[in-house]
């Protein structure tokens, strides 16, 4: 929850679905005293021009993020597996639908 030293309302991260068929994407953050007001503030702040059909708000303190300090060890395992990409494979010319 909110740290006791903070003089402001808790921070919330705002995610918006731009239109049906798309996933919610992060658009920014805002302060609000509770989840209901966070939703209303998000509507006023991030959808003034019909940018969304659905909003998620998540209290920022509840998010667990990977650490930039560990980015190498954390993401290295994927770096040497180029055979996971379709372009890795040699296919004779003229083969179709592959």
């Amino acid at each position: 929850m909110n740290e006791p030293t903070s003089r402001d309302w808790p921070l919330w991260e705002v995610f918006i679905r731009a239109r049906r068929g798309l996933s919610h994407s992060h658009v920014g953050s805002l302060h609000a005293p509770d989840a209901d007001l966070a939703l209303h503030n998000a509507r006023d702040l991030y959808t003034r021009r019909s940018e969304g059909v659905s909003i998620w708000v998540v209290e920022s303190a509840r998010i667990t993020a990977s650490s930039p300090d560990e980015k190498d060890e954390f993401f290295d395992p994927a770096a040497d597996k180029i055979y996971r990409h379709p372009t890795f494979y040699d296919i004779p010319d003229g083969v179709q639908h592959l």
Binding site: R7, W9, L11, R48
Partner: protein, 312 residues
């Protein structure tokens, strides 16, 4: 000088024209510069609501009133995007507001001029928002990710601000002789302050070089000022309004409009607090903030009460 791995990573991000994100290591100076610049930018949006808000109740038609309300609401939104971007650097919004109220962080000096007539609303949209756009578009490519994302949203929305101002001035300029004179008077008063919005000339802008090296600033003050003048002078012709600069001339060799000397004493005087509205703007901001305190307290109390009721 030996660099730590953190420093090297930061330098590499800047060299690659990549983006720095909040949890990356960054030099203290980079962090301080960004906090100062983003806070000043946020404060400018919030203080900027006042000169135009002054005319909402007296807009000449329902159409103009609805437009002006939407524009002033956008300024509030832009302030909030920017405060959120600054908060990613480790400063709280409440602290930035305290610094603004105490005069320890600045806002753009342009908002210390009064809005004397309805035409000023049009002139602000056309000139002040026009200058702001020229300043802000390059920040959409600056090195700090959260600032970039806020600026991309702001620039998208700012275009309407400038166009509505141009349209409003165009209507006045092509209206009755009195309306035309009112539009010209507004342009006479807002032209030079808008030119000064780009800041001091390059040889008197000591922090610019470091900001450029860090990718916070992409063009010099004078380059951006020239870009604005080149864009705006032909627009004044379409408006049928004169630019109040007797020395203004087109240089065929360079393809640029050359403006006359700028009164930097006026700029410095306003920066040091002696503009026509400096005290009024801060007084109004502080009054609004303290008069709204009960709303913030009530919402906090309500949230606490609800949290107690809901079983964990």
């Amino acid at each position: 000088m030996s660099q730590t791995a953190d420093q090297q990573y930061f330098e590499a991000l800047i060299a690659d024209d990549s983006r720095v994100e909040p949890r990356d290591w960054m030099p203290d100076g980079y962090r301080r510069t960004l906090i100062r610049q983003i806070a000043q930018h946020a404060h400018s949006e919030i203080i900027g609501m006042q000169p135009e808000g002054n005319w909402i109740t007296r807009a000449p038609s329902l159409r103009r009133k609805a437009i002006l309300m939407a524009k002033v609401q956008d300024e509030a939104g832009h302030g909030l995007y920017l405060y959120a971007a600054a908060e990613t650097l480790g400063i709280e919004r409440a602290e930035m507001l305290d610094l603004l109220h105490a005069g320890k962080q600045r806002y753009s000096s342009i908002f210390n001029y009064p809005t004397l007539t309805w035409a000023d609303v049009g002139a602000i949209g056309w000139l002040v928002d026009g200058a702001a756009i020229v300043n802000q578009v390059p920040i959409c490519r600056c090195s700090y990710g959260p600032y970039v994302r806020a600026m991309v949203r702001i620039c998208k929305e700012e275009s309407f601000h400038q166009r509505q101002g141009f349209e409003s001035l165009h209507a006045l300029s092509h209206g009755t002789p009195d309306q035309h004179a009112m539009a010209q008077d507004a342009v006479n008063r807002w032209w030079w302050p808008s030119i000064m919005m780009f800041g001091p000339p390059d040889d008197e802008s000591p922090n610019s070089a470091q900001s450029m090296a860090w990718g916070i600033k992409r063009h010099s003050n004078d380059e951006l000022r020239q870009r604005f003048v080149d864009m705006t002078v032909p627009q004044a012709e379409v408006l049928g309004l004169d630019v109040p600069d007797p020395d203004l001339r087109f240089d065929k060799d360079t393809g640029h409009w050359v403006h006359g000397p700028i009164d930097w004493d006026e700029f410095r005087d306003i920066l040091s607090g002696n503009g026509p509205c400096n005290a009024e703007r801060i007084d109004a901001r502080v009054a609004t903030h303290s008069e709204g305190a009960w709303v913030r307290e009530a919402a906090t109390a309500y949230a606490a009460k609800q949290a107690e009721r809901v079983p964990a």
